[in-house]
Symmetry: none
Subunit: 232 residues, 2 copies
Amino acid sequence: MPNLSDELLQQLKESLFSGALLPGAELQSQRRMSEGLAVSRSTVREAVGQLEAEGYVEIRQGGKTRVKNLLEPHFNLPLGEGKALGDNPEFQRQVLEVRAMLEGEAAYYASLRASDEQLAALDKEYRQMLQRGQRETTLAKAKEDLRFHMMIAESSHHLLIISFSQLFYTRFFNAIYGVLTRTLKTYGRYPEGIRAQHSAIHQAIMNRDAEAARRAASEHILYTRRHLEKEC
Amino acid sequence: MPNLSDELLQQLKESLFSGALLPGAELQSQRRMSEGLAVSRSTVREAVGQLEAEGYVEIRQGGKTRVKNLLEPHFNLPLGEGKALGDNPEFQRQVLEVRAMLEGEAAYYASLRASDEQLAALDKEYRQMLQRGQRETTLAKAKEDLRFHMMIAESSHHLLIISFSQLFYTRFFNAIYGVLTRTLKTYGRYPEGIRAQHSAIHQAIMNRDAEAARRAASEHILYTRRHLEKEC
DNA sequence: ACTGCAAACTGGTCTGACCAAGAAGTGAAA
DNA sequence: TTTCACTTCTTGGTCAGACCAGTTTGCAGT
């Protein structure tokens, strides 16, 4: 896409990444830059504005634009600045609702179609989760939870469910993680029900009781959603 | 930071997150927007540019700016054009199973959250389907069916369900259509149950009976799946 | 050396214009 | 009637020049 402001944006980024512009350094003013590069200030504004949106520089009206610490942008925690879709409570609720649907179906078909090897692997993973217990960070817990559910999805032997689960968990991990941190902030710890719910899902799949598995997996997610609603 | 373009950016995001602007919808042109909001086009450009940078909309010079589907960029299922995955009976069965899940949930949330206008539109569409009756080609029937279910999905006010439905129905239309033709070939005509099932879905949503709607929509699809299984 | 204030910056917004790419309407040719 | 090329309209991209509102700078007066 040979569009001027994008070109300039790339050019500026290279200056940043190559170290020509160190953290704390000042950028040229927009006017000077537009003269030097023979483009209009609008174009410069667009590029510098993107730079700021991506967290590389700090713009202050009246003041000069400075390069931020380069590591900062990569530490943008969930619940960070500005509005992001993943931080929107309404969207987080929708993510939970879709998880309830998706994981319910995955558990259902996993109960019906999982191979014995997959069942054994699932059992092993479950016991490890029990052992690790509370000794983990919130982030590790979130990842562990997703891995467990992803194993169930794979055991469903259902191409569409597997694909969608993969897509969903990676794309919306932030929203999922955001829910977990909010829950922990409110209750101080992992809610009591979770452990029992994981157990119920595990049991139902091991017994190849598809209906029970669907109910348990779905209930597991909706339980969290109810917690979230009370909070508001 | 009460700066104009940021305010507008937040405002646009609200429209996105609230579902007022659905995936695929077109934004107003920058000129019209600047007139309507009494700000300059520069300001509008800045806001819309940020929206694009964050991946929410797609801007095309000369064309219109439209809302991106949340899932589209990551929806790379192995349907490599080639040997028509859509003709594979096993895959057709999986598509039906996912439809059962998806349309069940869509009907559920539509019952809870549809606006009165949406309910009226749905009612109108349903009555038209009744009138048109058997006077249509198989292809027209399939499209009609999908339109009906897409209206239900949109009435759910559920960004994820809407996004997924859009993608699903367009990508896998072949598989869906294939199922319909196979059914017709076997039975010579539209199975009797279908009409009653559509009626049940329609009724349940009109009564805002969410559980019944989910059951009816899900059953509607699984009914077809059972037909397909007998055949093999 | 210190203080105050005005001038000279900075980025934010506005206006109105022109360009280029896509969309839409039109009319002639098949 | 359908199809296809051409014209026209609309859209986003860029430009120039102006004004506003904060910030910084620098000089004059103490």
